[in-house]
């Protein structure tokens, strides 16, 4: 019961955070978005005027009537788009739209099927990012867990030392720059991988060759991701496992004569599970957001590159929609991590329930 209550409070809390974050984002946007919208309205009115020869004739002699007509049209449109309302109200309206995932239409970008609905554009980009980064993250987790366990088992060994150094090295390595270097090395000098994109142009015929082509384009960015991230993962795993290895229950198990492998995979791994599983879930969810700049470097048409294109094109609906999705994903991963941790670690579970009961 205590847990259920905690979960509900956690969800309400997250929702409140989401509201405030969206409020801040909408506030930031109100200036930029509205300036643009006003320009757009003006253009629309002018286009309307140019398309209507009768009006033009009527206004040919009378300039003030023309001005008046434009003013009334403007007023109508402002009302239509809600620009006549005060700033605060407009922000609230925008927050509401974002919450209902009504992102509106992009004015410069289109999905492959030709839709300019922001939702369609995002739904097209999201799977591509998941394909690259979530798959990459799974590889990272497998390698990281294996190496981290091995390093902890033989703390101070060559493997452990080189792993620690590699983790430190990759800690300050910008992934996107590493990507650029790999492009120079593997694409320019060795010429074994394409320098970017997701498919050859034009794409090959047939499903199998299409999949192969996709994999071919996927390899270099994924390798970059794994290369930069796995060291840190292995190092964290090692630290978690190592701190468990120094606990009394491990010594007790060893003293009882439990085989070393059983101590490691049975006792220690179970005790290390809460942080590691939490990290796993969190990183998997986090990887959906992708690595924005690396997508730009590899010209990978996922969420990151979409965001960047929207920044360059000043496409506010896409920017807002993309930001909202990233905030939701981020919050979701935080909640799932929290709940997962609670589920796995009885101490936290009881602690949280007790804290609720106070």
């Amino acid at each position: 019961m205590g847990i259920g209550k905690y979960v509900i409070i956690r969800l309400i809390n997250a929702f409140a955070v989401l509201l405030i974050a969206l409020f801040i984002v909408s506030l930031v946007f109100s200036t930029a978005a509205e300036k643009e919208l006003k320009a757009q309205i003006y253009e629309e009115i002018m286009a309307q005027l140019n398309a209507n020869p009768q009006l033009q004739k009527a206004f040919a002699a009378n300039a003030t009537a023309r001005e008046q007509w434009i003013e009334t049209q403007k007023k109508l449109k402002f009302e239509l788009y809600g620009l006549d309302k005060p700033l605060f109200e407009r922000i609230l309206i925008r927050v509401g739209e974002q919450l209902r995932l009504k992102f509106g239409k992009s004015h410069s970008l289109k999905s492959r099927s030709g839709s300019s609905e922001v939702k369609d554009i995002i739904l097209e980009a999201l799977p591509r990012t998941i394909l690259l980064f979530t798959t990459g993250q799974i590889v990272v987790i497998l390698i990281g867990l294996y190496l981290g366990l091995k390093a902890a088992q033989r703390a101070g060994s060559m493997l452990d030392q080189s792993l620690s150094i590699f983790a430190l090295l990759s800690y300050s390595l910008p992934m996107w720059w590493t990507g650029m270097l790999f492009i120079i090395l593997f694409s320019f000098y060795l010429n074994i991988f394409p320098s970017g994109g997701m498919m050859s142009v034009p794409p090959p015929e047939g499903l199998i060759s299409k999949i192969l082509d996709l994999l071919y384009h996927l390899t270099l960015p994924m390798f970059t991701y794994v290369f930069v991230v796995f060291g840190g993962w292995a190092y964290t795993t090692r630290n978690v496992v190592l701190s468990q290895l120094q606990e009394d229950f491990v010594m007790a198990a060893r003293a009882k004569g439990v085989p070393e492998n059983k101590v490691l995979y049975g006792h220690v791994l179970r005790a290390s599970a809460p942080p590691i599983v939490t990290m796993t879930i969190g990183s998997l969810l986090g990887s959906i957001g992708g690595a924005m700049i690396s997508e730009v470097v590899f010209n990978w048409p996922g969420m990151g590159r979409l965001y960047w294109t929207a920044v360059i094109q000043n496409d506010v609906p896409v920017l807002l929609g993309n930001t909202t999705i990233s905030i939701i994903l981020f919050l979701a991963s935080l909640i799932v991590m929290d709940l997962m941790y609670m589920y796995l670690d009885p101490r936290v579970r009881i602690g949280a329930a007790a804290a609720m009961g106070e």
Partner: protein, 475 residues
């Protein structure tokens, strides 16, 4: 804490720190970068940073030149960048009132590639604009062949003249025609007039292959360049005549496609990165400690409110918001630092709060309070001295992410546009597809510098952590 105690504990700390190999390595790298940032600008003036985007400032540098030192590692020698202002002059009158002024330059070509450019710059003083001087530019090759590349009337307005012989259409067709004579018909089919580099036939042996970049053999020896001016007025003259032989290697790190000296960019970028990294981490760690300690100390509903704000701040994904803010407000470097601090203090604040809570429950704090110590006194005497060491470790560890985040913004073209930063150099490299052209000397150094500088702080932070948490010690 008294001053002598402070010095004593500092000495103790240094004694511990000295034994951390990795920490000393980090300190050495950091000192190297600080040295670079201090000494570098003596040789590379501030103008280079301010005028990084000014194309005319860099116009007399070579385009896309590799670093000079590659010549030591390759038998294929590349010509360096030469600015020749020494020449022999001979003057004579031809006819009644035409004066001939001949400047003769010598250039020893001992390299396996032709120069990238031939540029002539000078200032002219013309008494009567209706009677402009004319000039010719003649190249005398070591094999005795003579090619007149330019012959023109200097009638443009202004007196500063810059003639890029290698991008002059007339010079190109002359050079092409020169090469054609020796070329086989099969080779000629492979050659495009438009794509020919005029320097190639001019500095290659007169034999088949002269127009083909991969087949032409360099003609080594002394070239003579004769620039002749014909003045119609006795007062007309030429000043500051300079011949630039564009190199294919330049300086320590070469140049980019916009002819900018990449080492100058690296040096000025070092200053920005150090500034951003250190200022951001110091400010955000201090703010984080202030926030965390205050939260723990105030307790009750005030703590609750502060914790909610903390939660909101740590639930906002940083990079998208930073990109958004930068795209909308086009911030200066100081605003970028401000944004980074606003989104960067949360980690420290959580640590400071939990530590302060623990310390608050200690008996000696209780005792201090019992004898009437104020909250501020307790914070100053008991809380801060215990939190500060951790603060330094987390300061060091938060530098790399600040540097990388700024670099990321600059890379997307959203940084401070009035300064050159490492991220911007990489942005320019990306936008001109330097990676696909294999220009490693453009892409490698800024990122390497970023990684190394980040690494130095990571090393220092790791060393501090090892001193503070000996349990996890390995390195």
């Amino acid at each position: 804490m008294r001053w002598s105690d402070f010095v004593e504990s500092l000495k103790d700390f240094w004694f511990e720190y000295k034994r951390q190999k990795i920490g000393m390595l980090g300190l050495a790298i950091l000192l190297f970068f600080i040295g670079l940032a201090i000494v570098g600008p003596r040789f590379y003036p501030a103008e280079m940073s301010r005028k990084w985007r000014d194309v005319t400032y860099w116009q007399n540098y070579p385009r896309s030149a590799r670093p000079s030192w590659i010549n030591y590692f390759s038998s294929h020698k590349m010509p360096p960048h030469l600015i020749i202002a020494e020449y022999e002059v001979s003057e004579r009158m031809i006819g009644a009132n035409i004066r001939e002024y001949v400047a003769t330059f010598n250039y020893d070509h001992e390299y396996d590639e032709p120069p990238s450019d031939l540029i002539l710059t000078f200032r002219r003083q013309v008494a009567d604009p209706t009677k402009p001087p004319t000039m010719t530019f003649v190249l005398l090759r070591p094999d005795g062949r003579e090619i007149e590349l330019i012959s023109k009337k200097l009638s443009e307005a202004g007196n500063q003249t810059r003639i890029v012989i290698t991008s002059d259409r007339g010079a190109l067709s002359t050079a092409y025609a020169f090469g054609r004579e020796f070329e086989t018909p099969e080779n000629l089919e492979k050659v495009h007039f438009e794509l020919t580099n005029p320097a190639l036939p001019l500095f290659s042996k007169a034999q088949p292959g002269i127009l083909l970049g991969n087949e032409a053999e360099p003609l080594k020896g002394t070239y003579t360049i004769r620039v002749t001016f014909y003045f119609q007025n006795p007062e007309d003259k030429i000043e500051d005549l300079t011949l630039i032989i564009g190199g294919r290697v330049y300086g320590l790190l070469g140049t980019d496609e916009n002819r900018r000296d990449l080492f100058a960019g690296l040096i000025w970028g070092t200053r920005v990165s150090l500034l951003i990294g250190i200022l951001t981490s110091v400010l955000s760690v201090f703010f984080g400690i202030f926030y965390g300690v205050m939260s723990a100390y105030l307790g009750g509903w005030k703590d609750e409110i502060l914790q909610r704000i903390y939660e909101i701040m740590s639930s906002i994904p940083t990079l998208p918001i930073l990109i958004l803010l930068s795209a909308i407000y086009k911030p200066s470097i100081w605003w970028i630092i401000f944004f980074l601090v606003v989104f960067g203090w949360m980690g420290t604040s959580r640590m400071a709060r939990s530590m302060a809570y623990q310390i608050k429950e200690m008996d000696y704090v209780e005792a201090a309070r019992a004898v009437g110590a104020s909250g501020f006194w307790i914070v100053r005497k008991h809380v801060m001295p215990q939190i500060l060491p951790y603060a330094f470790a987390s300061m060091a560890l938060s530098v790399p992410s600040a540097i990388l985040t700024e670099a990321g913004l600059s890379f997307l073209g959203l940084g401070d546009i009035n300064r050159v930063t490492w991220g911007q150099i990489l942005h320019d490299a990306q936008s001109t597809a330097a990676t696909i052209k294999g220009m490693w000397w453009w892409v490698l150094p800024p990122g390497l510098a970023m990684a190394l500088l980040g690494l130095s702080f990571a090393f220092i932070g790791a060393a501090l952590n090892t001193i503070l948490f000996p349990k996890l010690k390995t390195l």
